[in-house]
């Protein structure tokens, strides 16, 4: 199953940081997210784009995880040569993650 079936997400940016929130549609599924969508797994997913491990913040009260990606200095929103300099589309790369093949 794709993560998209369980959760929704929004990307924000600050300089060369990108944050992606991941929010369970049903708060009962929060623990599943916390168990399967680890910082290590998200780091592997985004490894071509980042310079150090992804940080993960847990917000159980909202049924949400917040991931912070560190991009290279040249990939800040105001310096990047990319079409999506903000990284606003990245939330859907996370939602495309397969959840049943996840190692806990």
């Amino acid at each position: 199953m794709k993560l998209r079936e369980l959760a929704h997400a929004r990307t924000g940016d600050k300089g060369n940081l990108v944050n992606i929130s991941l929010i369970a549609y049903n708060e009962a599924n929060y623990l599943l997210l916390e168990q399967h969508v680890t910082a290590e797994r998200v780091t592997r997913l985004f490894s071509p784009l980042i310079t150090r491990p992804v940080e993960r913040f847990c917000v159980p009260g909202l049924g949400a995880l917040n991931f912070v990606l560190h991009r290279p200095p040249a990939e800040s929103v105001t310096r990047s040569l990319a079409l999506d300099a903000h990284g606003k589309t990245l939330s859907y790369a996370l939602l495309n993650m397969d959840i049943d093949s996840a190692e806990p």
Binding site: H8, Y25, G61, N66
Partner: protein
């Protein structure tokens, strides 16, 4: 119980104007806040002012004010906005002139200044020696805004002020919260953070057909908060307006542009969003409560802007059988002819294939019917930028078969970084004029 009604009239410089007019007309607002100043917007305004191309305030100031000033005057709604950009005092004068033209004599227009701290950072550099510092603006907090409100300003025009502070100031003013009442400042900052992007709370940047359905985005209503003296608030929008204000929306927006949700730093407070709660209060009505706060940071964040050369860009499309192979051939030609561009200063993507997430994340996708090559590069010498756009154009005649739809552009690049200054080094000032 006293309730203060605060509306969000804009979430970025180019935002729609009609939702603000609807809020001003029908929202029974005490305050209407326009957040129009992104990180880079103020740098562009500084440059335009210095080069004499503009007075330095928001180019849409007049249009927005014309649209809402008479309604706000009639409904006793005070306006707070960072549309002052690089020249709040000139923005105030412009607003005064406009008010006189609209027969709004007596309108009190305040400006807040002191955010320009370029003189305090004479030797500041970015990591790239080719870049030069052009502006530095400290994020001011609520204090100068409170001065303006106490002076009975009807309109307040600022430059760089932390976005949530634009919303927090009226709460502190109306309810008399102490400037070290961290839990209330934290909750008020959460409400401000939820409102600051306007339509992003009411269904914008949210809709996903089949998963998160939103109707009426073409006539999206912007949000307003009904704030109680404790800071607990109802978030809502006008009945009949388009969009959706729901708990999932609020959850996305409270975490938007946030790193550690327990430590969201503003000039006013270290806000803690990790304990926030949302509950349903009817259709398009969400109650928000439970955010907290701790002492404000000692340093103020400073947004620094650097001349970072020119970015030149060109695109060309290929379609039908072999589209991707021909696009790849075009890339090879470009790479051979543009080898003189430093590594890291040239980027070539295929739109529809890998332009968003890079080749590694995008590889499982099937080949589409059409592919658009996009090349972008950074230059510090204008004729070099023209060489890139010429290379893209010449792919028509000298490149692979069936290339079409070339577009090119060259733009000045201002890059933004963050710096920090002790709060004592920054002195906010304000003034007030009467129409």
């Amino acid at each position: 119980m006293k309730t203060v009604r605060i509306g969000a009239g804009a979430g970025f410089a180019g935002d729609r104007i009609d939702p603000a007019v609807e809020l001003a007309r029908d929202g029974r607002l005490h305050y209407l806040v326009f957040e129009c100043l992104a990180e880079r917007t103020i740098a562009l305004a500084q440059l335009a002012k210095r080069q004499g191309r503009s007075p330095g305030f928001d180019p849409l100031l007049r249009l927005r004010m014309e649209a809402v000033l008479p309604l706000c005057r009639k409904n006793q709604t005070r306006i707070i906005t960072n549309m002052g950009a690089a020249n709040p005092q000139a923005a105030a004068r412009e607003t005064i002139l406009l008010a006189r033209n609209l027969n709004l004599a007596g309108l009190r227009v305040a400006w807040v200044s002191g955010d320009d701290v370029l003189a305090l950072l004479p030797n500041h550099t970015s990591g790239d020696h080719r870049e030069t510092l052009v502006c530095a603006n400290a994020y001011l907090g609520i204090e100068p805004l409170l001065d303006c409100l106490r002076a009975n300003a009807d309109v307040i025009l600022t430059g760089r002020v932390a976005d949530p502070s634009l919303f927090l100031a009226p709460m502190v003013h109306e309810f008399g919260w102490a400037l070290d009442d961290w839990p209330r400042l934290g909750q008020g900052t959460a409400v401000g953070h939820l409102l600051e992007c306007a339509g992003q709370l009411t269904g914008g940047y949210f809709a996903d057909p089949g998963y998160k359905d939103v109707s009426g985005l073409d006539r999206l209503g912007f949000p307003l908060a009904e704030v109680s003296p404790s800071g607990d608030s109802i978030l809502t929008k006008l009945i009949g307006s388009g969009g959706l204000l729901s708990i999932p929306n609020c959850k996305e927006q409270i975490l938007y542009e946030v790193q550690d949700p327990a430590r969201y730093l503003t000039p006013d407070v270290t806000a803690d969003f990790s304990t926030i709660r949302f509950s349903d209060d009817g259709p398009n009505r969400v109650r928000v409560f439970g955010a907290r706060g701790a002492a404000r940071p000692q340093n103020l964040k400073v947004s620094t802007g650097f001349h970072a050369g020119l970015i030149a860009e060109g695109q060309i499309s290929y379609a039908g059988p072999g589209a991707l192979a021909r696009a790849r051939l075009a890339r090879q030609i470009l790479e051979n002819r543009l080898h003189w561009i430093a590594i890291g200063d040239l980027r070539i993507d295929f739109i529809g294939i890998d332009a968003m997430h890079g080749a590694a994340l995008s590889s499982p996708a099937p080949e589409p019917y059409e592919v658009r090559l996009r090349a972008a590069a950074r230059f510090f010498h204008a004729p070099d930028a023209a060489r890139l756009t010429q290379e893209i154009e010449s792919l028509y005649v000298n490149g692979p078969a069936g290339g079409g739809g070339v577009s090119t552009s060259v733009r000045e690049n201002i890059a933004m970084d963050a710096a920090y200054l002790p709060r004592q080094a920054v002195t906010p000032t304000f003034g007030i004029e009467v129409a």
